[in-house]
Symmetry: C2
Subunit: 347 residues, 2 copies
């Protein structure tokens, strides 16, 4: 009795109709009589009929699924973006398939293959920190699968992009540090080939230069990951230098947290001896002591907009060439981990 789900044919048989009539009834086709429609709809409801998406997908050559590739989801940053994506896609007709590349190019490649095989109708992607080549995304595009890149740029790839102005965020942070009287400002940067960390580094460098502070190579570190432990050793090296910095701009809140941790351990007062600024504004950052000064990014909106753009791109398969580029502005949030006594440098 309960073998398999109820199909169009089942309904057809019970009503002495053909499957096509049942199909048309459910789709409100004008050529079907009102009574028939009503009868069909009622029975379909009673039997809890649910169209088989695979049959549909086979016929229409689409899966009604969109793929999302992110490096990881344990950080608040990506999980909040995904929440934004979900909130847009969820109510639509599409399903989401979330995939983690674990910051590995090979895994990313595998995932793209898997999603392509699945015939996803579109892809949202933030590339891994190991990805330097974007041909796998181009192959998707050649198969008419639209690609939207978010947060981490893929330079040279022609696609819709939703990014954050990391340069501006870093510039704001460092300029603030300068105005608060810091002169020896270090940078705990991230992996080298990510657009985001590159731009943060550049924002740091330009803010220094603009304010007449010479760049010091020994003040710049390229941390290899984004988690707390990745920041500990570099922070220690930095703070135990002879001529230690009086401020640190970190590539994210985790690394900034490591720096705070090390600074405290060494016996430095924050922010009197050293100012520390992070990036991301994770929810717990304001609960640290001292509360972390950081750069806020509109993560949820970023996820939502990316999803909306993809949805629109899927609907409107024309307009092949004019890709959208959306750049969100981040914002400095000053808390207790950085000095407050601003000098006027407008002159």
């Amino acid at each position: 009795m309960k073998k398999g789900r109820v199909t169009l044919k089942d309904i057809a048989t019970k009503l002495n109709l053909s499957p096509s009539t049942v199909s048309r009834s459910l789709n409100d086709h004008p050529a079907i009589g009102e009574e028939t429609k009503k009868a069909v709809k009622e029975l379909a409801n009673a039997l809890d009929y649910q169209p088989n998406p695979m049959a549909l997908g086979l016929l229409q050559k689409k899966s009604n699924t969109i793929g999302v590739i992110v490096p990881e989801i344990t950080s608040h940053f990506f999980s909040a973006i995904i929440t934004g994506i979900q909130d847009v896609i969820g109510p639509s007709e599409y399903n989401i398939m979330i995939c983690l590349s674990n910051e590995s190019y090979e895994e990313e490649l595998t995932l793209v293959k898997k999603l392509s095989k699945m015939r996803v109708d579109g892809i949202l992607v933030s590339p891994s920190s190991a990805t330097k080549d974007f041909d796998h995304f181009r192959r998707l595009q050649n198969n008419d699968v639209p690609v939207v890149v978010f947060d981490r740029d893929c330079p040279g790839l022609e696609a819709d992009k939703v990014l954050v102005d990391d340069y501006s965020g870093a510039y704001q942070a460092v300029e603030y540090l300068v105005r608060s009287g810091c002169t020896k400002i270090a940078h705990l940067g991230g992996p080298l080939n990510l657009s985001t960390t590159k731009h943060r580094l550049q924002g740091y460098l330009d803010a220094l230069e603009k304010n007449g502070i010479p760049k010091r190579e020994e003040y710049i570190f390229h941390v290899k990951g984004f988690s707390h432990k990745d920041g500990l050793k570099p922070a220690r090296k930095l703070l135990e230098m002879e001529d230690a910095p009086d401020a640190i701009f970190a590539v994210n809140d985790n690394i900034a947290t490591s720096a705070i941790h090390v600074a405290k351990k060494i016996g430095l007062r924050i922010p009197e001896d050293i100012s520390i600024v992070g990036f991301d504004d994770e929810p717990h950052s304001s609960y640290f002591s001292p509360a972390l000064s950081t750069v806020w990014q509109p993560v949820y909106s970023l996820g939502m907009l990316s999803a909306r753009i993809l949805l629109q791109r899927i609907k409107d398969t024309s307009a092949k060439n004019d890709f959208r580029l959306e750049v969100f502005k981040p914002e400095l949030v000053v808390r207790a981990s950085s000095r407050e006594n601003l000098s006027d440098i407008s002159g």
Copy 2:
């Protein structure tokens, strides 16, 4: 030319074979000649043939997809579980569809319908805090979709379950507080109808009773959510009482963090004036000051095991009735937010 993907038929035509022969060749059917096999496989490789999963799914009445329903993913807890799930399912033949219920029963219901419609082959679920009735999961089971419940129990539902011994974790934490000399131990608990928070509450109560400390109703709060801000007001109420507690056991690290925040603001010293213990051991918890004492849970393993059990259940459709119940032991991690001078209470 590039219309649609390459199909079995395409390969068949090019090789002057029938689709069935091509299919059998690719599946290493013994009845196919070696040369034919080789020729087919080579061409399939050259054309980058990828079988259409929808055609397959239609035929075999399965989607090769498993659904995951979680209340949210912005906390480290669930995102780490999902990472564990991914690491098990990823290499398998199955795809994962992650869905967020946002702690809402209605959304959970919608998601179950959606996944059922998709013909997922199995479901991993941690119910929302608003869910009291589990018939929607039973309906899945009746459609031969195996369900594995993780972390948050569904009392009365017969299914495989992978849980954490929250009772033990809470008991450990509170007993530790007692042994360290605290006598006025409060509890910032969570929403009332979750198995996890209920068990943590019970562990708290039993640890008190066992140690001869009378329960004080005014020391017990039921916080409505799990985020920082949900804990602020209750923490303030607690700490500004006339007879304020000398220890707080919080339902999770976020709430514990709020308590620390409030305590500091009021001017209390931690742990001299008040000990605070959390639950979850989030990655940043050891970087707070004072570093948070908390109860660690094997989240990643929990995700992995849940996924493994589901996979096995899908493979082995027999053995309907003997469901597995796996309970992980959590572990108290003592850091700086709780007193250390343990007295011997063994006598």
